[in-house]
Symmetry: C2
Subunit: 478 residues, 2 copies
Amino acid sequence: MSQRIKIKALLESTQTDIDVTVKGWVRTFRNNQFIALNDGSTNNNIQVVVDFENTDPALLKRITTGAAISVFGLLVASLGKGQTVEVKAKTIEILGDSDPEKYPLQPKKHSLEFLREIAHLRFRTNTFGAIFRVRNSLAFAIHQFFQEKGFVYLHTPIITASDAEGAGETFHVTNFDLDNVPKADGGEVDFKQDFFGRATNLTVSGQLEGELGAMALSDIYTFGPTFRAENSNTTRHLAEFWMIEPEMAFADIVDNMDTAEALLKYVIAYALDKNKDDIEFLTQRLLDEEKQKPQNERSEMSLTEKLQFCLANDFERLTYTEAIEILKESTPNKKKKFQYPVEGWGTDLQSEHERYLVEKLFKKPVILTDYPKEIKSFYMRQNEDGKTVAAMDILFPGIGEIVGGSQREERLDKLEERMDDLGIPKDELWWYLDTRRFGACPHAGFGLGFERLVLFVTGMGNIRDVIPFPRFPKNAEF
Amino acid sequence: MSQRIKIKALLESTQTDIDVTVKGWVRTFRNNQFIALNDGSTNNNIQVVVDFENTDPALLKRITTGAAISVFGLLVASLGKGQTVEVKAKTIEILGDSDPEKYPLQPKKHSLEFLREIAHLRFRTNTFGAIFRVRNSLAFAIHQFFQEKGFVYLHTPIITASDAEGAGETFHVTNFDLDNVPKADGGEVDFKQDFFGRATNLTVSGQLEGELGAMALSDIYTFGPTFRAENSNTTRHLAEFWMIEPEMAFADIVDNMDTAEALLKYVIAYALDKNKDDIEFLTQRLLDEEKQKPQNERSEMSLTEKLQFCLANDFERLTYTEAIEILKESTPNKKKKFQYPVEGWGTDLQSEHERYLVEKLFKKPVILTDYPKEIKSFYMRQNEDGKTVAAMDILFPGIGEIVGGSQREERLDKLEERMDDLGIPKDELWWYLDTRRFGACPHAGFGLGFERLVLFVTGMGNIRDVIPFPRFPKNAEF
């Protein structure tokens, strides 16, 4: 027996007529003769040719969809279409059976909804194999991008005592017996008795802690899970998701935009290069899916074209104020086609407005900057106009906001004023304010929603399909 | 003004007599003339020479430890010791003051305990700058190692409904108002009303979900936070820590040991290469620390020597049974020097026994295998002897267990038998058992405690000093 070779390597082999050992899971078995075998190293299967006339029929019966097998045989040039090599089996060993009557994954097309119910097995489909290999490449490319630039990967805490940012509803973390929560003399929950001696929750963002690192190490980034206890049952929201949050000392909002745009292009280019077969498969999948739709609802570009277009073009940069002017004068606004008419300056943009700018008008990623301070967070740097902050959001076609960031308010008096305005407790954030007391400097950062990035690059429509085991209201299975 | 250059690049510059802009934080300012400036890109400072006779005294007064400054000047060859280049300042701008009366970090040695209280500022010290740059390199090297081998990085869930592994006490996750937890008719907590519609907790391990991925993608790894609600106030335990958990299909316990040993050597070599200055600094720090100790308690090898020794030598591999024999016959056991005498086969090894094997006997990392099944988890593969399981633990000098792993029990009947024995609910783990029902195959994996690795490579003594914001009983500050 030779050492096992992964199928990706076998299919790329330039050598033939050598003995090989290949292991994987049977996708299909045609005519008692042709096994399509996959081991997850690539979207492509290797064809194993079985000499069925000289194989024990009892063994043949066990070669079923889903079974794990080990094949020893000769790697030969293939005469069949669609493959350059195949394995002529000499011996086949069944490692693990898969009863075809019971195996939930049949060799046919299953709905994404059904596959979500069996998320423990969906990795074994072409679609999810491709998605999770692409997700892997994007994650690594993010690390590589920042490492090349000298950023320090910082693990900010998951359990925190501060929800001062007010970024959304948080999950409580406790080791109280929920049946019997200890009360203090006044009748209120006695958090002093809890594990951390105070009320704690799951983080909604590592940014504030990230800034502490940047104020010493210059450039840092986080890449970790974040949480929202929001009752959102949409195709864009998860209760648990991964976020990347770089923070750069001595950087302004323009550096911030440049870094974010460079990052997005870098990781998309990386996936296009490393996951060519996966992205081709996903492109075809999307074309097939869109054939079900009326002509006018189909995408103008295929997935691959959309990704390449994104690399080849500068993102459109404009201010919130300019965007409002454009939207006010736009045809859908004048024809009252927007659900939320754009009347004036100051309100937040709705998804329909963002889509108009990104998908109809500019037809490419858009960076909006300098939003009204009222609709943005307390830590964003106030502009000279007294009305706006140096915020930036990147909007992607089909996705909406993929990046949100800003230059940070480094001036202690301005920051405290804004915290007072918004009722944010300064004593809880003493450590955050310390960075403005000692050696403050201009700095900027952003948050990139990792699953939204994976959605964009895979062309999938539901965020629950791009994370292995999605968490959402009433669901924590697996 | 030229574009800012980071200090690491400046110090490596082969060009001199060019104008540069450098930004960072003042470490010290001597004789109104020499600024030691650091920007976190390296442990080393650049010396900025101030023409104090032609500089506004008001500005000079603001050049204090901790202040953020921007310097424009000429990069010249240095005449001073310990540096090859320095910057002759033409203009200095104060970006952020640091009142020397109030700044908690004085230009002197602070205790690690004190610095833990001001973890938001400790990044600005030489020791913690070095630690977190080394930590960064180790994290990236882990990714690079697995990517080179075709492993898929898998994000397993942080919030889970199963604590079936029984790996330790878990934190509850809930969005109940703890003041008023809803009760069902029978008086018990009505988890149906909770966010996920059931009781949920923070993960103690991503292994079980990782196996689901490996049963389709062949080789996966996780790298994420894990949690233990254990009331351990030790230098080796955290309530929140990061873990790496690879899982490999078609792999046995020997493949598992080989992969773990290769991984550890790869990442240590990577850090030695990328963080030469940091590790030299930490080596010196440890030497200085050990000078306080009596001669016989000092390490035989310096930190750098210990790391290099680890690379140059095969880890010692032996079975639990062999280890027990050795320990029984050992001098400390015979002389009753062990707190827990080693009398027979079957009990778990104590830290003192592990230390004897690793630090006194073999003087290098040790891999112990084939433990009694009673002291190991239900999912470990049962050996033919009926008594042991194919477990493996890697023990490191000064650290103890750094890796724990095993070949997994892929045989459904054996697995179910063991779950029954231990009272582990099979219905809760239906999805885990499915992987043994459909296309099971031999597979193996391990968990590497990331902070213990960082401890080893930095030579630090307390795990709270190698994670940015440690979480432990009664502490969730920052």
